[in-house]
Symmetry: C2
């Protein structure tokens, strides 16, 4: 099946850039997002406006959702204007929201008897990755559907990996967030310790970043921590959401992840103690240490 028309639901910071890349790649887009103003640039670039998720899904070959929380995904799929009821037979439903693996399975279970193909395809790479079409895309669902949708994924990202049945993309994304959670603690603790010891933390970070202590977070967020630049690359509120999803998922699996739980606790304490911290970037965790 040739993919021509894509319904795109949720054109925020991530979704907006992704939709623009799909337009650039030659797909026809029909879009819906909660705040119409956020879609202005896309409409100017040739996307068609829809007044509901249901309308965005109608007659589309593919329906992509890029939302905030699992509850938003449920609303879009099952709510009054739900796309599970309106998508045309044979359509591909691709949820790219970082969401619950179990919800992804549930969607696939409901979609399949309707002749719909559901994929979970969360991404990493942030706003820059979305803009430059260099996202990593982690896909779960039927492999045949994944293969059909490669041209769509290739318009959005650079690393595109298929992990297995429905939910597998979300599981892979959770692994990513779990690795980041404890590493963020390590970076903050190393920098806070260096400061407290009276060292030049900039020199410490430069010296250790090239060796066994090195990480993307140390190299990219360490300098921002040290200069007090807490502008969001990735919002604390979104990271807390992801950690809750990962904790719930690990609990379902009966897997104890004490590092993840500690990270969630520290971020919660930070947002409880300082108003507005949830809208800062994840590197602001260093404040938990500096305030001691």
């Amino acid at each position: 099946m040739a993919i021509k028309t894509i319904g795109f639901i949720g054109t925020g910071v991530m979704g907006g850039s992704m939709a623009a890349n799909l337009l650039r790649a030659g797909f026809s887009l029909q879009i819906y997002t909660r705040t119409q103003a956020k879609a202005a640039a896309l409409l100017a670039a040739g996307a068609a406006w829809c007044t509901s998720p249901r309308a965005a899904a109608e007659d589309a070959d593919v329906v992509i959702s890029m939302l905030g929380y699992p509850v938003d995904v449920e609303e879009i799929y099952w709510g009054q204007a739900g796309l599970l009821a309106s998508a045309k037979k044979g359509a591909y439903l691709v949820d790219m929201t970082t969401s619950s693996p179990l919800l992804a399975r549930k969607i696939a279970t409901v979609a399949s008897p309707k002749g719909l193909h559901a994929l979970d395809a969360p991404v990493s790479g942030g706003d820059i990755g979305a803009q430059n079409a260099t996202l990593s895309i982690m896909v779960g669902g039927e492999e045949t559907a994944f293969l059909e949708l490669r041209p769509v994924f290739e318009a959005l990202g650079k690393t595109i990996a298929y992990f297995g049945p429905a939910g597998s993309g979300q599981y892979a994304k959770m692994s990513n967030q779990i690795a980041i959670a404890s590493n963020m603690i390590g970076v903050c603790e190393a920098m806070a310790y260096a400061k407290k010891a009276g060292l030049d933390p900039q020199l410490v970070y430069q010296t250790i970043a090239a060796g066994a202590a090195g990480s993307w977070s140390l190299s990219n967020l360490g300098p921002r921590m040290l200069s007090g630049d807490y502008s969001p690359g990735f919002f604390i509120k979104h990271f807390i959401k992801d950690m809750h999803l990962a904790i719930d998922s690990a609990t379902e699996m009966k897997l104890e992840l004490p590092g993840l739980k500690l990270a969630e606790k520290l971020y919660q304490q930070l947002t409880t103690d300082s108003e507005g911290a949830e809208d800062l970037g994840t590197q602001a965790l260093i404040e938990w240490y500096l305030r001691q």
Copy 2:
């Protein structure tokens, strides 16, 4: 002062390679190590054997120690055959053991009135870095002494950084170990979660290593964890020692480091639960998770 003769105490896995590099760079070496057999290759390469640390220090321009634990450093410096009593006036005493910052300060305080110059200069980069003279060397002590010893450090490492007064090199090394401790938890938790979710953890690690979850530990130890290769690049027993030093040091500073404490607890549990685990590489922490 031209540096000609170096006393080298402790020619184990790290010290042996470092001493060999000093010989290669043209320094005269007089060496002492607990087990004489471990010095055979160095003696064959032209080093002179000494029967005590005291003898290795006599008439040397520089005395380097590379030992296991702070208690060994105290023994070498103050014990019956202590080098604080035998080093010649004007000599440089360089402790490259990963040791306590406070002990480094104490050595400097005692050395100074005797006309001796003490530096703390722990390293990172492991056995490979020691062999290839690519170590990172983190130096604390008088800056003039550091500058005099640059030729010695340059024979041993690639990144050579001066951090400030006595103890500062140890503080920098502790920062390095603190960053590694929590990151190791993150890498293990991500890999254990991926396995438990039924994903191909090899594919997960390849997909996430290039992005924001990326780290030296993930790229270098992740694959070993997944193949059950626990051969030591860095021994768990040494890492536990370093974490104890870092915890003590943070406690002195009244700095709470919950991630570091968690890492120490998990490694302790692993070595308590499985005999011989202390002689495995640090990546064996994954077993704490896989045994659940």
